[in-house]
């Protein structure tokens, strides 16, 4: 069904949803921040 194929094609064109260096930087920063908080929490636990 052409209509469905067009919609699938449009959806796939949107992937990847976000792909920029800035996003990766922010993402990794967030990741590391949370890992640090987890580390501190384990310290507090100890």
């Amino acid at each position: 069904e052409s209509s469905l194929l067009r919609q699938v094609s449009s959806l796939l064109r949107r992937l990847p949803a976000i792909e920029s260096e800035k996003f990766q930087d922010d993402f990794m920063m967030e990741y590391n921040d949370t890992l640090l908080i987890t580390y501190l929490a384990m310290f507090t636990n100890c």
Binding site: L12, I18, E19, Y31
Partner: protein, 313 residues
């Protein structure tokens, strides 16, 4: 049948008002039922206040030992620390609103007030307690609800508490068992001094059939919004505040330990042991809670990244 709760039986309400069963039992009201409409209005209003406290009134009725909140409306005031101002500013508005409601066929009376504690938990401060005691003297039945919009976002569930104060000088028979919550250091004193002057009620929610229908229609939109938002981004300040608060508490605990080390003879060992544990145990629990919320936020980010960013054409 689910809509029966919305029926307002004026005769029954005025009979109940006359009997005043709460007069000889300070613990009479035990439950609160909040409608979806009232809950949404209160949480959105609390959220709109940002870091400022906002307040409003709740309308509803009673049903045995339950107070039923049907609706709520915001008051044009900010900050509840100045209790007197809040009343003076908003009084006219309150009266107008209630009277207009009656003319529009909404018979419910005001059954309580709500206000927000952005970021520092759901409990009653000293001034809140005196405000509520005053309300319970003159406007019974009256309920106090506190909503924490910041923690609502961070925890992903509505942080809300409903309370009623005891009469002056009344000693509750036992310690109030309430759900543990983190109290910031600069509020601990205000919390601790008054926490025995009120008790928490059990909160449940209800929806009308129309609510169900509308919420169904909105479900997709809600879900997409949830999916495309991240508590990590929205609550950075709150988390930073929590961590600095933790640091202060740790500092305090360390000082406290130093004192007890020099004066062990002052306190019997088992009480000192209990004291230490509770302080440190609380700090550990606080830090674990913050961490869990952060890790939840990160997990959702990681899952979204894998699902939507790792696929290549």
């Amino acid at each position: 049948a689910s809509d029966a709760i919305f029926y307002y039986d004026e005769a029954a309400q005025s009979k109940f008002q006359k009997e005043k069963p709460w007069a000889n039992d300070p613990h009479y009201f035990k439950r609160v039922k909040i409608s979806a409409l009232a809950l949404l209005k209160m949480v959105v209003h609390a959220r709109s206040g940002g870091t400022i406290e906002v307040m409003g009134l709740m309308q509803g009725k009673t049903d045995g030992d339950a107070i039923i909140v049907m609706d709520a409306f915001a008051l044009p005031v900010e900050g509840t620390e100045t209790r007197v101002n809040a009343q003076a500013d908003a009084y006219e508005y309150m009266v107008d609103y209630s009277q207009t409601n009656k003319q529009a066929g909404r018979l419910e009376n005001v059954v309580g007030w709500y206000h927000s504690h952005p970021g520092y938990g759901c409990w009653l401060s000293g001034i809140d307690v005196s405000t509520q005691m005053l309300n319970q003297q003159f406007q019974e039945p009256f309920l106090a609800v506190v909503i924490d919009p910041t923690r609502t976002v961070s925890a992903g569930k509505v942080e809300i508490g409903a309370f009623r104060t005891y009469p002056e000088g009344y000693k509750p028979p036992d310690d109030p068992v309430s759900e543990y919550q983190t109290i910031p250091l600069n509020k601990i004193e205000d919390f601790g001094v008054h926490c025995k002057q009120y008790y928490a009620l059990d909160i449940t929610y209800f929806k009308s059939s129309l609510d169900c229908h509308l919420l169904d229609l909105l479900w997709n939109k809600y879900w997409v919004n949830t999916l495309s938002s991240s508590p990590l981004l929205g609550n950075g300040d709150y988390v930073a505040g929590q961590i600095s608060d933790l640091a202060e508490k740790l500092e305090q605990a360390e000082n406290h330990l130093a004192h007890t080390r020099y004066g062990p003879s002052l306190m019997p060992s088992h009480q000192r042991k209990k004291e230490e544990e509770s302080q440190l145990a609380k700090i550990t629990r606080d830090s674990a809670k913050i961490t869990v919320e952060q890790v939840h936020g990160l997990m959702s980010q990681v899952i979204k990244d894998i699902l939507f960013n790792s696929v290549r054409q």
